[in-house]
């Protein structure tokens, strides 16, 4: 429950920061990780990981485990930056839906890599979830276009109103692109 609530709180607060402050994704990621590093180091000492246990384990680590750790570091950077980027482009709910749907390929890979068993009922559940996951963005896009008064933007559309009265058409054009 803490994980679920935190995930929603994170996406909502980031969205609020994004709409009110307009930081770049790199700066948001940099600030977040810079601050979290301080707390994480403190927590590592409290938990007893540092200074000895984890450093000893790092020294005795096999090459393959070291590579996994390095990849995890790069993966941490990737998910942080891509997550902030996606959050700046999506709504908070859409971002959470995306975060949840990210796990479906993880499940299939979990079956392949860790030998986790999935029954037919599980596959049916996954299919229903994927359908919901497809329906959500399609509905959201439809609503966005509807809200914006939907002016189809294509090369075939000559936009006669824009040609005839540019001053009145300008806000509508801006609004449409914002959608």
């Amino acid at each position: 429950m803490i994980n679920i609530t935190s995930h929603s709180g994170f996406s909502l607060y980031i969205k609020w920061l994004d709409t009110t402050r307009n930081y770049s994704v790199y700066i948001m990621s940099l600030y977040t990780n810079g601050l979290s590093l301080i707390f994480t180091v403190a927590l590592a000492f409290v938990a007893g990981d540092l200074p000895h246990k984890s450093l000893t384990a790092l020294g005795e680590m096999s090459t393959s485990s070291a590579w996994i750790l390095i990849c995890s570091g790069v993966g941490g950077w990737a998910i942080s930056t891509a997550g902030f980027w996606a959050n700046s482009l999506f709504s908070s709910t859409a971002w959470t839906v995306q975060s949840s749907l990210n796990k479906i390929p993880t499940m299939f890979l979990s079956v392949l890599l860790f030998g986790t068993k999935i029954s037919l009922g599980m596959y049916i559940g996954l299919t229903i979830t994927m359908l919901g996951g497809l329906a959500f963005p399609l509905t959201a896009i439809h609503l966005e276009q509807k809200d914006a008064g939907y002016v189809k933007l294509s090369d075939e559309d000559p936009e006669p109103a824009l040609e005839a009265a540019p001053s009145s058409a300008a806000p509508q054009s801006a609004k449409t692109v914002n959608a």
Binding site: N3, T5, S8, G9, F10, L12, Y13, N22, Y26, M28, T32, G34, L35, S36, L37, V41, D49, K53, A57, L58, S65, L69, S72, G73, V74, G75, G76, W77, A78, I79, S80, T81, A82, G83, A86, S88, L89, S92, T93, Q98, S99, K103, P105, T106, S110, G121, M122, I124, G125, L126, T127, T129, G132, F136, I141, L153, E163, S173, A174, V177
Partner: protein, 198 residues
Amino acid sequence: MQSTGRFFHPKAHMSSSASQTATVRDADDQLPGDADARKKARGNAVDNYSSRILAAAAYMVSAVTLLLLNKALAITFPFTFTVLIIQSLFTIVLNGTIVLVLWRYYGIKPYIFSWSELFQFLPVVAFFLLILFTGFEVLKFVSVITFVSLRYLSCFTSFFGEVLLLGKPFQWQLVPSLFVIVTGERSYKSESELPLIC
């Protein structure tokens, strides 16, 4: 280029919607009859969807990879905080490098550090640490599948949070698809081996 949000855009301090609005308004300033400007604005609108797809794909790939790597690490290197420290260091170094490269080669000035800006990120850090730490801890006791199935419930909390806290209008049309997602999760979870928490 403009509609990639604040990923590569030279006006990196502007929001994606603000930069797009500015682009179209710039284009409209050149009207009447500036077909190239209008075409550019239309292209940006189309690119906006491309950017979303690209962002979604990047986020998905990195999330899947990281979850599996964390699962592998939880077995061989069960020091949650040390892994978090290493991931944070990588993020700081890589993003710092990107910011400097953008400054050096594209002229995008980095933000001047200020404590007030930094403190705004404290709640982010609190949520961030809770997500990662609880994620790590849960993965020690349950399978990846059970962990994943529980996370779907956050769609509803985010949806209502957006309406109640961010003032977004309630769009009932989105609710059925959220129900479908959670229904799929429930039927999936009822078949899985660990009826945890819910």
